[in-house]
Symmetry: C2
Subunit: 324 residues, 2 copies
Amino acid sequence: MAAYFVGVDLGGTNIKAGLVDEDANVKIKFSVPTGIEEGPDKVVANIVAAAERAIAEAGVDRKDVAGVGIGSPGPMSHRQGLVINPGNLPGMKNVPLRDLVAKATGIPTTLENDANAAAWGEFWAGAGKGVQDLVMFTLGTGVGGGVITEGKLLRGYFENAGELGHMLVQPGGRLCSCGQKGCLEAYSSAYFLARRAEEFIAEGRPSSLKTYVDRGEMLMAEHVVAASRAGDELARQVWDEACYFLAVACVIMQHVSNPQRVVMAGGLIAAGDALLQPIRKYFKELTWKLLDDGPEILFATLGNDAGFIGAAGCAWQAARTGEW
Amino acid sequence: MAAYFVGVDLGGTNIKAGLVDEDANVKIKFSVPTGIEEGPDKVVANIVAAAERAIAEAGVDRKDVAGVGIGSPGPMSHRQGLVINPGNLPGMKNVPLRDLVAKATGIPTTLENDANAAAWGEFWAGAGKGVQDLVMFTLGTGVGGGVITEGKLLRGYFENAGELGHMLVQPGGRLCSCGQKGCLEAYSSAYFLARRAEEFIAEGRPSSLKTYVDRGEMLMAEHVVAASRAGDELARQVWDEACYFLAVACVIMQHVSNPQRVVMAGGLIAAGDALLQPIRKYFKELTWKLLDDGPEILFATLGNDAGFIGAAGCAWQAARTGEW
């Protein structure tokens, strides 16, 4: 008997959903508006509708659908199946999403943190396939993370494990949006590295990026990458620092969870070798020489599909272990 | 039927051994010389003799002894039961200690990293009792560590997880004995904090500690603690920095493994509140304000017994899970 899993990646703007088989092959995928402006009940209805649509459009037998997995922004609780109060889903407060979806669909449902779900996706079907000890950094507006050890997601007592963007890599350093000083996110996220460049420009340092600032445009990480490639010294410094602190974070994770592989995901990996090569170079410089236990550092391969595939993978894992 | 477990803590100078019951009650304990100068075969014989002595002196029925646990310095391999090449056990190269002891005693045996075993001891019977998500820092000559998540030791792909002394807390900072710059160990170990004080003195800074240096004595961490208590400014600064970076490490672990409790162990905890209060204070200052998910930070309670009790506890766990 074939088994299929619905995966739902719940975002602030869109719900990405799809259906995959037990080998992580995608049968169908699509995206629909989250509809948060219509309230939490409507969001739940949209999720249920997306799950039903995935099953219907994939044309599989409903009784072969063994689970629904949902990736939700935090704060949330996997154990309680609860969406607590995500910043990008205003109004979604203490919604027992897992049980609501399970009841509406009649299919066992699991709820996971979206960053964990994405890491699980790469573990199950992407750059981490075949690897049991994995760390993933998701480099987007912020820096997210996920840690898998011996083939299990690390969740932590308060269910906030793997918040790798908030590791201190420069204690007392740049102020992060979380209130800490010197977080990885404050140096290596798309948002903060662009702010870093703007600050240098405001200090009067010369840069080709000044044209954006002068036009009143918000500087983007892509601009910094492009300017760095073109030889702009300020851009090069900001980008280099972002890579350096990612390497620092890799060294820390080497000694904490000692993974076989570190996977870099998210929008910033569009920079390609300009990102990967400096991270690898700095990692080599920074890591110890006592033992040769450094992880491979590579890019994720599932792109924006990691979220819903990983959510489906969480359902696959729950079906195997019986722990929903 | 009662079940008992032999615990062996293999050190460079002494073997500490004992017998405990399944509730971690110590029936007997003692210490014997390791005998490394007589070669690896003799060390193995001494371990076997210590295990036999523990059983005999405790007066328990041999068939009620369900396992032997050994904590060994690294590098070692739990999975292979192998002592690879510890710096403080010269000549112990690729010794299949687990199988040698199991064969000689006829009792199932497990081998664990000594820092992991000590953390497991606190988890099983000490400051971590009742807690499933735990981090331990052992503050001795170096800084060791152990991480327990959902009641399981984190080992990592290369079996070097929990090397918390080598987390970078000040990238590019003080050179550590491992070759990295800015390790936790380079600031917060007994050895390095004393060296730090000596360096300041060599730079000509005034300190009551200069009397040790002038007498040609090696400065010890205890001297720094005592001088700091007595109001010596240089000592205070060095000690404060050691506590600060331990708090940084706690914040990092908060976001990585998200433990319920962080336990501080090792010789330095003799400093008492002079250690614990500043760590807690700095942790509060450094951690995020987004969520209230900081761990309790406390002292270990088993002292030097954590190693052998924890080793016995590893055997207890192996007997329960069948994974030796």
